[in-house]
Amino acid sequence: MHSSYVIRRLLQIIPLFLAVMVLIFVLVHLIPGDPVSAQLGDRATPDIVARANRELGLDKPLPVQFALFVNQTLHGNLGESINLKVPVMRLVAERLPVTLFLTTYAAVLGVLMAVPLAVLAAVRRNTWVDGLIRGAFQFGLSLPVFYVALQLLSLLGARLGWFPIGGYGEGFGGHLYALFLPALALGLNLAAILLRTLRSSVIEVLSAEYVEFARAKGLRTRVIMTRHVLRNAMIGTVTLLGLNIGALIGGAVITETVFAIPGVGRLMVDAIFGRDYPVVQGLTLVFAMLVSLVFLATDLLHARLDPRAEVA
C-alpha cells in the first residue's frame, strides 16, 4: 500500500470534519428550548437569564459563537458540561473506552460467528445445513437488537445467573465477562448481516477459475479456503463490516441504556435529556470522528486486501 494513498485518504477527513461541526452547531441551535431556561427553570428573572447567557457566551452573534466553537474544538477543548460542571473532554476520556471495548467485542464476536458459518453454508450450499444456518440468521435479523438483548438478559442473566445483568466489570477479563451479553446481542445481529453477503461471495469465489487453479496446484483445502477463497470473499464484506461498526457506535445509545453500561452512549442519552448542549455537541463530534476513522480503517483494510483498489 502506498503511503500517498493513506495520506490522501487522511486529508479527505478534514472537510468532512468541518462539515460535521457546522451541522452540529446549527442543529443544536435549532433544537427547541435552551440550556439556560433548562437549568434555571421558568421562574428565573430576565436579569439572571441574561447573565447566564453571557457567561455561556450565548449572547454573542451566531458566527462568533461558531468561530469560538471551532477554535476551542481544534484545541481539544469540547467545552464544559453544564450539568456536571466538568470538561466534556474528561467525560469522553472516561466513557469512550467502555464504548470502544463493547464495539470491538461485538465486532469480533460477529466476525467469529459469521465467517465459519458463511463458509460452511457456502460449501454445503442448498443442503439442510445451509438452510438451517440461513434460516436461523434470517430469523435473528428480523428481531430488533434490543429485544434479543432483553431476552438474553432475562434468560442467561436473570434466570440462570451466568452473566451479570449490567455494568462494565473490572480489568480486561472482567470487561469480557460483564459485556458478554450485550456484545453477543450486537454480534449476532452483525453476524446475520455479514453472513448473507459473505455466503454469496464465498459461493461466487469457489467457482472462480483461480480456485480451480489452486486445486490443480495440489494445495491443501485449508490453504485454498483461507488464502484463496476467504481473502477474496472478504473484500466485499469488509466494507459492509465497516459500515456496520459505524452503526454499532451510533447504536451504543440504545445498547448501553438497556444494559446499563457506562459508555458514551449512556452519556449522550443523559445529556440530551438534560439539555447539556456542550456534552451533546462534543459527543456528536466524537461519534462523527469515530465513524470516519472506522471508515478510513475499512478503506485501508480494503486496499490491503485488494491490490487493485488503489488503481481505481
Binding site: F213, R220, R227, L305
Partner: protein, 346 residues
Amino acid sequence: MMVMGTTQTTMTSPSSPLLSVRDLNVRIPTPGGELHAVRGVSFDVAPGEVLGLVGESGSGKSVTLRALLGLHRAPIKMSGEVHYGGANLLSMPDRALRSVRGGQISMIFQEPMTALNPVLSVGEQITENLREHRNLKGKAAQDRAAELLDLTGIPSPRARLADYPHQFSGGMRQRAMIAIALASEPKLLLADEPTTALDVTIQDQILRLLLKLVGELHMSVILVTHDLGVVAQTCDRVAVMYGGRLMETAGVGELFARPKHAYTHGLLGSLPGSGSHSSNHRRPLTPIPGGPPDLRALPQGCTFAPRCTYATGECRFSEPPLVEVAPGHASACLHHDRLSVLEVSV
C-alpha cells in the same frame, strides 16, 4: 500430397506410457437432464510426447483434461481409470492425489486473468507451489521463483515477484502462469487452450516458449485446443474429440495427410489454408454444416452422422468403436476408406 515429419506414429509407444487413460466417463447433472460430457475416452501419453486434444467447444476436451486430475467436484461424476506412476488417480486418497496435482502433473488454463488469484502477488502464487511440493521456503523459494520467471522470459524477474496479476500484460500473465505450473518440475503438463485468450503475435511466442520448456524439462504435454494450426505447429500426436468421444487418433503428420474420420476430414476442409498448396487462387471455405450435438439427447449411432456427408444407414444404427485402421492410426468412422483426398497445408 504433403507428408509431414515422421514423428511418433505408433499407438502403443515402445516405452511404457507416462499416463494411461481407460474408459473415462464424466457425467454432469443439469436441470435439463444428465449431460454425458465424456464418454468412454481412452488414450496414452508417452514420456516426452506432446499430445493434441482437438475439438469444437462442447466436445468434452476441457472436461476430459480436468478429469485427469480429478478436479471435477460433486455432483459431477467421474468414472474410469487414469493411470499414472502405477496408480489410478481417480481412486486415490485425497492426500496422495494432492502430491500428484501440481507436483507431478501441472495444469495451465486458458484465461490467465481469471486463473491467477487477483489478491496474491505473482511471487506468492509461485512460492506456495514450491512450499507444497518442493519444501522450499523463504529466501530459497524467492530465488527459485525469480529463476522460474526468468525461465519464462519475464524481464527483471526479481522485481516483478511482488507485482500482482493486474500489473502484468496478457502475455506476461500467461508466462507467469506457466512459471507457476512448472515450479515443481512436473512430468506432465496439461494445457487448456493456453493461447486462445491471447493476441496472435503473443500466441506464437507463448507456444514457442512452451515447446522450448517442454524440451528442456523433458515434459509430456496434453494440449487442448480447437486450433488445428496450433496442433500442426506443436504436437507429436493428435486425438480428435467430438460429442464426448474420441473420433480419431494419429501422429500429427499422418492425421493432416490422411484423415481417417469424416469429422476430421470436415475440420481440415474448413481450414482457410486448405487446398491452396500450389495455386494462388482462393476457394471458398467448406464449413461443416449444422452444430455440435446436444450431449443430453445424443442421436443413436455415430454422433457426427447428422452433419456428415458420408453417413449411411449403418452409421445411424450403432456407434462405431475406435479401432486401429492403419499402424498407429485409430478411427471411429465406418467410412474411413471412402473419404476424398484433401490438400492441406497448415
